[in-house]
Every structure is written in C-alpha cells, then in structure tokens.
Symmetry: C2
Subunit: 261 residues, 2 copies
Amino acid sequence: MTNKEATPRQLRKDIRENILSQPTAGMAPGYLQCNLLILPSAFADEFLDYCEINPSVCPLIAKTKPGVHYFDDLGVDIDIRTDLAGYNVFVDGEKSAEVSSIADYWQTDFVSFAYGCSFSFEALLLDKGITLGYLDRGQREALYLTNIDTNRTDKFEGKLLASMRPLHPKDAIKAISITDKYPQVHGAPVHIGLPELIGVDLGQPYETLGPISIEKEEIPLFWACGVTPQLALINAKLPICITHKSAHMLITDKLVSEFSQ
Amino acid sequence: MTNKEATPRQLRKDIRENILSQPTAGMAPGYLQCNLLILPSAFADEFLDYCEINPSVCPLIAKTKPGVHYFDDLGVDIDIRTDLAGYNVFVDGEKSAEVSSIADYWQTDFVSFAYGCSFSFEALLLDKGITLGYLDRGQREALYLTNIDTNRTDKFEGKLLASMRPLHPKDAIKAISITDKYPQVHGAPVHIGLPELIGVDLGQPYETLGPISIEKEEIPLFWACGVTPQLALINAKLPICITHKSAHMLITDKLVSEFSQ
C-alpha cells in the first residue's frame, strides 16, 4: 500500500511511529489536511481575532480548549502532540527547535488551532480534470513572501506568504472557480500572472523542498498560505508557540468535499 | 436623462426611432443584453443544435416560432425588426448590407434566436467592486479571432471569436469566479494571460470601434463572444440570414441577476 492509498488514520499512525516523515502533499487525496498552531491560552483569543480578520490566510477549522491535545471533530484518535511529521518550536519569536514530537514541550495551557491547507484542494482539482503539471514533473508548489500586509491585531501582524502553482491558462480559470467555492482551504487565489505586482521574484522562494519550473504554456497562481501566521507569531515574540513544519500537515478524516460552499 | 439612466424600453424606443445608433455597451446597466440571429426556419433546428453544443459561445436565451417578430419573454413591446441599432444582412455567405431596420427584409419563415452577451456582466463586475480600467480610459472590450474550433454540426462550423478585457490580477480572479456563475452571458473566460496560446496577436483585433490598451498592472482575459456564430453562418453560405451588428445589442427588460447559477 502506498502513502496515496493509505487511510488518514493509518498515515497518522505511521507518522506517530516515525515510519513516515516526509511532506504530506499528495497523501490521502480527497481528505482535508490542516495547518496547526499551538500557543498559550493567554494569547488564544487574540489569535482567534487574527484568524477571523484574515479568513483566506488562516481559515479556522477547529480549536481546542486549553490543555486538550486532540481534535475530536477531525478524526479518530488524533494526538496533536505526535501526529504531524514535523513541528517548529518558537521561543520569544525565535525558532528554537524542529522536532517530530512535541510531547516534551506540552503545557496544560496550550490551545491548538487547525486551519485549512491548500494541499487539500489539489485532489479536487485533479478530480475536475485539471492538469497539475508540476506534480507530473515531480515538483511541488513553491512558497513566496509577498508585499501584501495581513490585517493586524494589536500583537499579530505580518506579510502574506503565498503558495504558487503554475497552470495552463484554461486550467487556471477552472482552478479559480473551483477553489473559490472552498474558502476553508484558502479559497480563490490572491494573485495570478504578474508576480512582481505582489513583490515576488520567482527565483527567490521563501522556503521550498525543491525548485519549481513554469513551462511556456503555464501562468503562476498564488494562494494564501497557512504558514503566514508563523510570521505573525515570530513578530509577536510569544514566550512559546508551536506550529507544523511547512508542508508537514495534520491529515484529518474529513473529506474536502464536505467544505464546499 | 443619459443612456445609462434610461430604461431598456426607452432605449429600444430611441433606437427604433433612430435617435440612438451607437454601440450599447454600458447602457441600462444590470439588464440583460442579447445577441440576435435570424435565419429561415429550414435551418433553425440545426442552428439550435449548434447553440446546444457550444453553450459558452451562444448561450440560448430565447427563440421565436417562424415569422414571429417579438420576444414576449424578454420585454414589453420588443420588435425584432427595428429595436437594434445595427443589423448585418448576409446573402449566400456574403455580407450584403448593414442597416438600422430589417423591416424590408422580413420573411414569414424567419426564426429569431437571442443569446447572452458579455456586455451584460460588466455591470455585475462593477457592482462587485471590480475596476474596469478600460472603461475609465474611454475604451471598450476588443474582439479577437482565436485558433479554437467551435464544435461543429453538418453545416455550421468556425473558429471562436473572443472578447478581451484587461484587468488587474486581483480583479481578474474575482471576475472569473463571478462570470462562472452566469453561463447564460458566456460564463467564465475561455483564456487568461497568454494570448499567443490561442493564436491571438493583441495588435490585430478582429473588429473594434477603437484601440484598447493593456496597462502594466493588467492581464488580458478572453470571453467567448456572441459574434462567433456569424462566422459559422458565413461558412454555411445560407441563402439569407441576419444578425445584430457587432456591439449593437438587443437590450431586454430582464435583470442579469436573474440568470445567476
């Protein structure tokens, strides 16, 4: 059985047991993958505000009570502390560790937020007959820092990070209409076609596991990326907070199709 | 009262009386404007087939019985023979006249087709806060012949004509999502961003009332155009047929908002 065929529960188990440790793009197609963000309860209300005023950046799917380390609504037997293949730990705004389990860091006042990830809609696009040429070329979407400010709260502010996917124009049009119907996985793109307008140099990705190419018959589309709040957290210099490692998502038991609007 | 403020009925009356004779873009914002196509009843069934297999090109709104010169469903007191500011008359596939009334050409076996026009959605886009910079610059959309084949019937075949509008990328994204919900006024664009892919040289419009500019912060979007079937009619060399003159549309009493899907 491949990672593509495994159930979300099996994938979480393999990740928990460190059998699986790679990025989760393409795994469990059709199932919702989530960004994860964990912070002390003292900052939870303000971060919730930040989510609400930046819905395309951090479309909230679920939030725990303080100290709770599972998301009952998102799947069977999820353990927030171990079920992602990579976590970033930030202390006073600095990244202090990259780990595969946060059991040792867990605090009883931790509140966890899960919000939508654009990995979730790639299966939707494929289902609708859209060609994701970059996947066929063995590449994945790239991440870019834009010059677009997110809406700020008192403590949380930062620029928008966008994930870029190159598509043939006819597929780009379809992809816009489809993703527009799924605001909880970032919705429609924030930009198409002219990267310089949003301060992006395609040769300078923010963080990526490999280069991405744009073929002659493709144009770049940019979607709001769930790594964006990590920048806002760094700016806020919280005493401690934890996020998923870029591209290492929480794989849920929820079908993306349930989130159509 | 300006043409923008006049009711559709008043505009039709002014057109009928030759007080108004210009293109109807921007008139009666919010109301459906239609392409018109008239042919002998012997060819009506096959043309209906052509519409049905090319829904984005000729999205059918209404069709008359033979000899009937009004569209009861589309507005009060419409007279198909006089209520457009310009008509093209084709004989054996050649354009033989451009007239402001077809009363002298009317035949008792004529069947009339009304189908959606992209003029109708410009008001929708403006309502949603989209900037149509070309209108602000005193320009209108341009028409281009593409290398895309329409689906053919036995007699009717031809390349797709597309109307081009340049938009800022963020507005382009919104315009795609909005127009996708209105298939009866051509729906989502057929192309964005790379005109050469559809055989278009932006410097070579097919037919236009003035040049259009694309600003540095804009990208071109192409929608299927209702003039397309005129090419198919020319190819079919019908003994006679009549169409609206490009950009001189039938203004109906129907609100575009009724056609949302």
